[in-house]
Structure formats: structure tokens, C-alpha cells
Symmetry: none
Subunit: 195 residues, 4 copies
DNA sequence: CATGAATGAGAGTTCATTCAT
DNA sequence: GATGAATGAACTCTCATTCAT
């Protein structure tokens, strides 16, 4: 596949991403993507066999960008508390942005394709997030910013709470206050007072 | 619709429940249910207009049974800690029973029907669970079984963690150890030592 | 079939009549009539096999009533011109009452059942109307009210014009002025000046 | 849609035309047309969404051809009487050709789609026919061929009679003599003696 | 007589997927 | 590589008609 093709593939993935954000995963048909991309039906099949393949590509792209954004956003002289608060604020923004997220599509995708153990990007993301969180907390504890007996446990707990908030936002809906309450609760658990 | 009909309706809902457990919500067609129930195409339409209507009925049934099970399972002389541990064990069982649960179907159902605020059974269930948990913790604190500064916050935190575990179980998968770790973490947070 | 049954049959026909007026003939299903009559599905089949049979009964009823109305409306000392004008006024009213008429249903009915020569009520009605019209014109001519060379031809011509107006009203629509113009034209053809 | 498609669309319309002539409008299903055209179910939907859309196209085609036939059929040195007689003969032929006509389908179509004021081809056709008839009569009067006091009224009257004959032919049936009688009556009204 | 649950045929419609150009 | 017409399987939904009660 030449460079041209690579570019077209990228174009398709980016366009499809918008479609998935709007409609989730299951509702999206190859036809939807063909129309959004304004290419031919057969053309799409040259690059992808089905929507799952396209969505996987979207997820990969997403992960890369997420990493970039994360590392970019941390200034050198930021304290652990600063970073944690920043991270939670980002999560809050995402949580409240209901129809402009890949969250629902991602969940649907993993429902559909029962446990594709290999290439489970979602799992990698979650595990890596837990690790980063753990390190962050440890650093905070060392610096006397946080108090915490079980850093690993706390990191995991925080990540599961966030996951719970995410799915709640998509199903039963969630208010800004509810999110704030949880954030405050998390920070208090680490003996961090102000937000 | 006479008594006979009511019985048949119940039969359909119960049969459909199994189908939803196997396939989730979206994948299920009226045809699937017709075949599972071994009734005629038109016959099903006498009782329900679409899969959403059937699923709602399944959910209602589920909620009732859940309530029954809950109240039944509490013996008179059980301590707050006993009840909490029992509850978490139940949750654990449910979490590990991946393809025998309505969890995925329920999530899919609420994805599909974007935010039906009224009649949102899921929300009612969640809120009611938070309240029960809060009361339980308060009782435990009063009896000196638990230690806890913010009962309400802790109750909410626990429920969100469980929600996070539930969705994780359905998407990235979860091991028994992981569940146990979280349960232990929760109990330690309340100063309860043994499981 | 006892008296009770006869009454029920009449009830069904009268209720079905309203349905046909609203929906025409083809669109009407046995289900529609069952619902309008608020009787059981099977119950309707005890009296009628299909919508055509019901509609025929409606037509018969209609014809009887039409005759009654016609003979009733003619006072003893009315002149031929009076009667003609009265008749045309009635026709006009009917023409402009678009959705409250059996016209469309009747046409549809005869489209559906290609030429049921026997029992063709519509034909009988038309032929009888021509005859009455002919007699009326003859009377008028004898009394010096009308001028007309070919009474039979004129009678037929008038009836076909009315038929043309009727179908036009149902398809392309027709204004009151258009109807008035045709009525005036007819009367002028008979040397009747005022309306 | 390229040239090939246009050709196929034309093929579908022409084939559908025959189906409509046989069955009228309402009875015709997409499946009927699919089978008549010997194409796939989905294939038809590429070109038309429903039978109404196809029928409209048939009507358009028909109108064009009608215009062509009309203008072709008039030789240069024909008198107004010649043309009128020719026209009426054409109408007669059409009237007696019961099951080989779009008349019934057209009426049914306009019944179904209650008064689509814009794009009402039928109305346009009727109005244009009245105008042509009016002009023809005026020409005949000028040339001393016809006698007529109210050309406009007479033109309209003739067209409504023809309309009345048309619907009668489709519903109660009509004999050749009956048609002839009406034609003679019309011509006598214009002082034209022979047919 | 009357009921109404049940059946199943059949219409409409949408898309994944192929393939000749 | 790219196109887009064509296919056909799969689904939804509606009724005429029957039949046990």
C-alpha cells in the first residue's frame, strides 16, 4: 500500500471517528461511513472489511493522541497534587460531554466483540492508567502532599470510580455536582483539601 | 386481555430474558424472540410492539425479584458487617457470571434509547441502592462495626466502584482476584478486617 | 337469522359506512371495521366474509335512503324548473363535501371488483337517474318551462357532466365557482335563466 | 446516476406502466414491479422509493407522449371539425379499451394521495385540454363550421362529459352505442351534422 | 351466537458484499 | 486502485382468516 493509500486510510478513520461519536458503534453501517467519507461502496472495502476493523483503527489513533495530550499537559514544576487535580478536571470535562465522545461507541464495540483478549486496547489503557495513577500517588506521598496507606489499592479504586462515573454518565446520566462530589471524595481520601 | 394472556405475556418476558442474556439487547430481533418462544410472528406483536418494550418488562421483573432476594437474604440477627459482606459477595458472583447476566443488555438498552429520564429504572435502582448502602453504613457506624467520616460519600463511592467493576467485567474482563482486591479495599476503608 | 341478528347486521353496516366515508374502500380492512364496531374479529365474520360484501350492503342502504330523500323533497306544487334547480343544488352540495362522501369509496369499489354486471347498483342508479331527469325535462318542456330538442340526449348529457364533476372533485379538486358555472351552463341549455 | 442508470430507470417505468395498466394503482406492490422487471428487490429501491414515485414517472412519460401524439395527428389542412371529430374518435377508442388503460390507475393514484395540489399532472392535463378545446371551437366558429354562443362553457362542458364517460366506462361499463350517442350530441350542439 | 388469541403469508425496507468496468 | 450498480438475505410489521372455548 503506497503513501497515497495510507493517507486515504487515515482520512477514512478520521471521518469514521466522527460518525462513531454521533451514533455509537452498533448503529453505524458501512453505508454510513461510505456516505460520510463520500467515497464509493467498493472503495471502502479496499481498506476495511467491516466497521469493527475501522473502529479498532479509530481506537489506536485515539490512544496515541491521548498519550500525547497527557504528556504535553504536564509542566515540569507541577506538583503531584496539581497533576492529579488537572487529570480529574479533564475526566470531568469528558464525563459531561455526553454526545461528543467515543465512550459509548467503545463500550458497544467491546460488547459486540466478546472479549478479544489480544489487541484489547481498552484493557491496556486501563492498566496503564492505573500504573500512572499509582506512581503519581506514590510521588505525592513521598513529597508529603498525600496521605495514603495502600497506594496501589487507592489508584485502582480511583480508576474504577471513574469508570463507574463514565458508564453512569452514558446510561442514567450524571450531573456536574455528582461528578464534583466524587472528585472531592477522592481528594479527601488522599488528604488533599482544596480543589 | 384475560388471565391467560397475562400468563403468556409472562412466559414471553421470561423467555426473552434468556435471549437478552445471551445476545445483549441490540442484536436481539423480534424474530429471535418469536423463535425462542416458539410462537408465531404475529402472535408476539399481540403482546409487544418491539424489543424495547419487551426488555423494559424484563427489567421490571428483574427489579422486583432483586428486591425480593435482597429482603429475603437478610436474617434478623445479622450485623451490618454481615449484610455488607453478603451483598458484596452477591455482587462478586454477578460480576464473574459474564454471559449469564442482563448487565450488557441493560447498558445497550440505555445506549440505544438516549436518556428516557422518566421511567429510568436503572437510575431508580442505582439511587435506591445508594440509599440502602448509606443506611447500612450508618447502622454499622452506630453499632461500632464500621469507622467512617462521610457515610453518604462512602456509600456513593462504593456504588460507583461496583458500577466500574461491572462495566469492566463486560468490556475488558476482570479476574476473581481483581474483584476480591476491590472488596477488601472497600471493607478496609470501613475498618472491617475480615472477609 | 333472527331479528337480533338483523339489527346487529344493520349496526355493522351503518358503522362501516362511516369508515368507508373516511378512508375510501380499498384502505379499509376487516380490522378497521371490527374496531369501529367494537365487536370481535370472529363476530364480524359471522355476518360478512369481506369488506366488499359489507360495502355492497352500505350501497343498498344508501340507494334506499337516496330514493326516500328524493321523493320527500319534491313538494306537490313544485314546477319542473324548481325540481331541477333543487336537484342540482343537492348535487353541488355533495360535490363540495369532499371527505364526507361515499363517492370515492364507491369508485374504488367498482375498480376493485371489475364489472360485477349483476347487482351493479351504480349502473341501476345512473340509469334510473337518467330516466327521472328525462321525465323531468319532458314535463318542463310540456309546461313551457324548458326548451329542448332532444330530451333524452340532454338528460344523459347532464348526468355525464355531473359524473365528470364528481370524479374531478375527487381527483383534481373543484371550486364552487366551477360547479356554479356548469350548473348555469346546463340551465341555459334548457333556456332556464335564473338560479 | 449515469446514462446507463437513466436507461434502466426508463426500462423500469415502461415495465411498471404495463403492470399499472393491468392492476390499477393500489393493488400494485414493489414486489410486482420487481418481478415484472426481473430485477432484484433492492435493485428497484436504487431508483424508486415506492410505487407512487414510479407511477408519477409513468404519468410524466404518458403526458409527453400524449402531447406528441396530439400534435402529430393534426395535418396542416385539417378543418376544426376534422380535428374535433378526430379527437373524439381517439377518446372513444380509449374509452372502450377498458383494461388497457391507465385511467383506473390514475384515478386510484389521486384518491390515495389526497390532493397533491402542486405537481397535479392530472389537473394540468385537464386545464390544458379545456384550453385547446376552447381554441378549437373558437376557430370553428370563426370559420363558420360551428355555431356556439359560449365557447368557453361549451369546451368545459365537453371535457366534463368526456370525464364522466371515462369514469363510467371504468365503473358501470359503457357500450359503443352510448359513446356514439354522446359524441353525436356534442357535435349537434355545435351544429355539426355528420360523424 | 360470540369471542379473541393465534397463525402465517406477504409487503416494505435496508444493507453487507460482490463484481464488471 | 476505484466505482457504484446489483444482488439477496434478513427484519419489521400488518392483516385476513381460523378455531377452541
Amino acid at each position: 500500500m503506497g503513501e497515497k493509500s495510507t493517507q486515504k486510510k487515515k482520512y477514512i478513520v478520521e471521518t469514521a471517528r466522527k460518525v462513531f461519536m454521533e451514533k455509537g458503534f452498533k448503529k453505524v453501517t458501512m453505508k454510513d461511513i461510505v456516505e460520510a467519507c463520500d467515497i464509493s461502496r467498493g472503495g471502502l472495502y479496499l481498506y476495511f472489511e467491516n466497521t469493527a476493523q475501522i473502529f479498532l483503527e479509530v481506537l489506536k489513533m485515539e490512544t496515541q493522541e491521548a498519550d500525547d495530550v497527557f504528556s504535553d499537559s504536564i509542566s515540569e514544576d507541577a506538583t503531584a497534587a496539581d497533576i492529579l487535580v488537572l487529570f480529574l478536571k479533564e475526566q470531568k470535562k469528558e464525563l459531561l460531554r455526553k454526545n461528543d465522545t467515543l465512550t459509548q461507541a467503545t463500550y458497544e464495540f467491546y460488547f459486540e466483540n466478546n472479549l478479544p483478549k489480544k489487541d484489547n486496547i481498552l484493557k491496556k489503557q486501563f492498566d496503564s492508567a492505573v500504573k500512572i495513577m499509582e506512581k503519581l500517588i506514590e510521588t505525592g506521598v513521598e513529597n508529603g502532599e498525600f496521605y495514603c496507606e495502600d497506594c496501589k489499592g487507592t489508584a485502582r479504586n480511583i480508576m474504577f470510580v471513574l469508570e463507574g462515573l463514565k458508564i453512569s454518565a452514558q446510561t442514567i446520566g450524571i450531573t456536574e455536582e455528582a461528578v464534583d462530589r466524587e472528585i472531592v471524595y477522592i481528594l479527601k481520601g488522599l488528604d488533599v483539601e482544596e480543589v
